[in-house]
Amino acid sequence: MSNIWIICRKEMKSYFSSPIAYGLMAFFALISGYFFYMATAIFVTRGLESQMMGRGQPMDVNEWVIRPVLMNVSVIGLFMIPMITMRLFAEEKRSGTIELLVTSPVRDMEIILGKWFAALLMYGCILLTSMVNLGLLFAYGKPDWKPMLIAYLGLLLQGGCLLSIGTFLSTTTKNQIVAGVGTFAICLLLWVLDWVSAFETSATSKVISYMSVVTHFEPFSKGVLDTKDIIFYISVIFLGLFLTARSMESLRWRS
């Protein structure tokens, strides 16, 4: 257990001693801020419109601002994942430091978990920047905080499963760019898979859209905690980490 923490700390340090962490956080803050501004602007104009029409029915901040913003955040997250995971193993393989890790009295799984936790923490730090915007809503209104918390849990789970896939791809190459592009392609694919359900309702399209990570995030964004979705995310995380472990083992037999 302590080995996982040692490796995780080392990874966190290397994220924050390079510009990548700050760059990603700044970029994410900018984009999520833009989406927040758009959502709030729409919310305000709609609110004014409905008041002028005389309906006066109160609009829900959670429904009109928080949910669309977090849906967008989950998609931007897909673009962040490859940049977080691509260096994890590829860089160690390129510089030869992997020899240090593998010849230390540490289990492969401890190395993998340490690195994956660090990536998850990094992703969490990136998500934190979007909380600043939503925090403003609490200053001026009374949104419900519970669905928001569940949505963030969903974001972390979704991130976790894509990060585990990214970690796996990083073990397959010495080249960070290859690892990054591969991860990006898979993230993109897992996102667009749910679009098929828009045109079709056959069993195949249901299966395909079930595989999309974004489909499973939707209930979270509404504040619904469904075991089905949690199990999906957790099993993908396990799959990713399992593949990483196998890939690390195969490195030794092949290299």
Binding site: I6, K10, L100, V102, R254
Partner: protein, 325 residues
């Protein structure tokens, strides 16, 4: 301390290490000598549990590398060819990380880090980024990293490669000072290095062991035939190179005379003796008798290339004889 039996490592198409067996006793320094691609690094990687062997057994401190890798890893310090350093870390921070990784408790780490940093004389750059270090310092930090957990066995892959002469001497001294407490295997392709630091030599070529012997035995065996460099000039009058060559060839025991250079009546030659002959007195007498000046007369050390030519060609001859039968 280290026991290797019939070790074989096969990659997809090539056999990197082929049926290698040797033993290393506690406290010994053993030199692993061979040209590039001979299988030195592969053997070391098997011993450090980085690569699993395809066949055969390897034991470190009584633990098998395939059955008990965790126990082996605890007892081994390893410095790969390129020191495994993280450029974004500071030296002390890096050593602390490695110390913790190798299983030193949090309380003991600062003292150990300080100790090894001083021992490897890299304490003065403790707060510098590794990315900013010179090659020599990187090698020292790499060595500090290998000994931080006070391992029984130290495996050093070309520890002096790419260092300047002063650093090479310092590193050799450091390695020598580590012997006794640690059993050391170091790989190199420089023969004098082995002569100066090691007690025992394992020569490996194309994945096979060519010779295992003590340094003294091996060098005397190889020096059975002697090579001597001579520099001669004319005392008065002119002299030409063929004249000198003929005179040197007449001397008893000489097998081959090679002209190295000729410059303003200074001639350099290399004379190789037959097995078991000492030709230096003969040469000196011959030169003086001819009335020339003798500027230099010294034995030429065998370089590794010659050792290899010697050992591998002998093997090739033996093989072709065996094939003819």
């Amino acid at each position: 301390m280290i026991k290797v039996e019939g070790l074989t490592k096969r990659y997809a198409r090539t056999v990197a290490v082929d049926n290698v067996s040797f033993e290393v006793e506690k406290g010994q320094i053993v030199g692993f000598l061979g040209p590039n691609g001979a299988g030195k690094t592969t053997t070391m990687r098997v011993l450090t549990c980085f690569l699993p062997p395809t066949g055969g057994q390897a034991e470190v401190a009584g633990f098998n590398v395939t059955a008990d890798p965790m126990e082996v890893k605890k007892r081994i310090g390893y410095l790969p060819e390129t020191p495994p350093l993280y450029p974004e870390m500071e030296v002390l921070e890096y050593l602390t990380f490695v110390g913790r990784l190798k299983g030193i408790s949090k309380a003991d780490v600062p003292a150990r880090v300080k100790e090894v940093a001083e021992r490897c004389s890299c304490a003065d750059v403790g707060n510098k980024l590794i990315a900013k270090l010179s090659k020599g310092y990187r090698q020292r930090v790499g060595l500090a990293q290998a000994i931080i957990h006070n391992p029984d066995v130290l495996i050093l892959d070309e520890p002096t490669a790419g260092l300047d002469p002063k650093q090479i001497i310092e590193t050799r001294e450091l390695i020598k000072s580590l012997a006794g407490d640690h059993t050391i295997i170091l790989s190199t392709h420089i023969l004098p290095e082995v002569e100066q630091t090691c007690e025992k030599v394992i020569i490996i070529n194309k994945g096979k062991i060519v010779a295992i012997d003590t340094v003294n035995n091996l060098t005397s065996r190889l020096r059975g035939s002697e090579a001597v460099a001579v520099e001669i000039s004319a005392r008065n009058g002119d002299l030409n190179s063929t004249q000198v060559q003929q005179r040197l060839e007449q001397g008893p025991g000489g097998s081959r005379v090679v002209a190295r250079s000729a410059k303003e009546n200074h001639f350099r030659f290399e004379v190789e003796s037959l097995q078991g002959h000492h030709i230096r007195p003969e040469i000196a007498r011959g030169v003086v008798d001819s009335g020339w000046n003798l500027h230099e007369l010294h034995p030429v050390a065998f370089s590794l290339e010659e050792v290899f030519l010697e050992l591998t060609s002998a093997e090739a001859v033996a093989q072709s004889k065996g094939g003819a039968q």
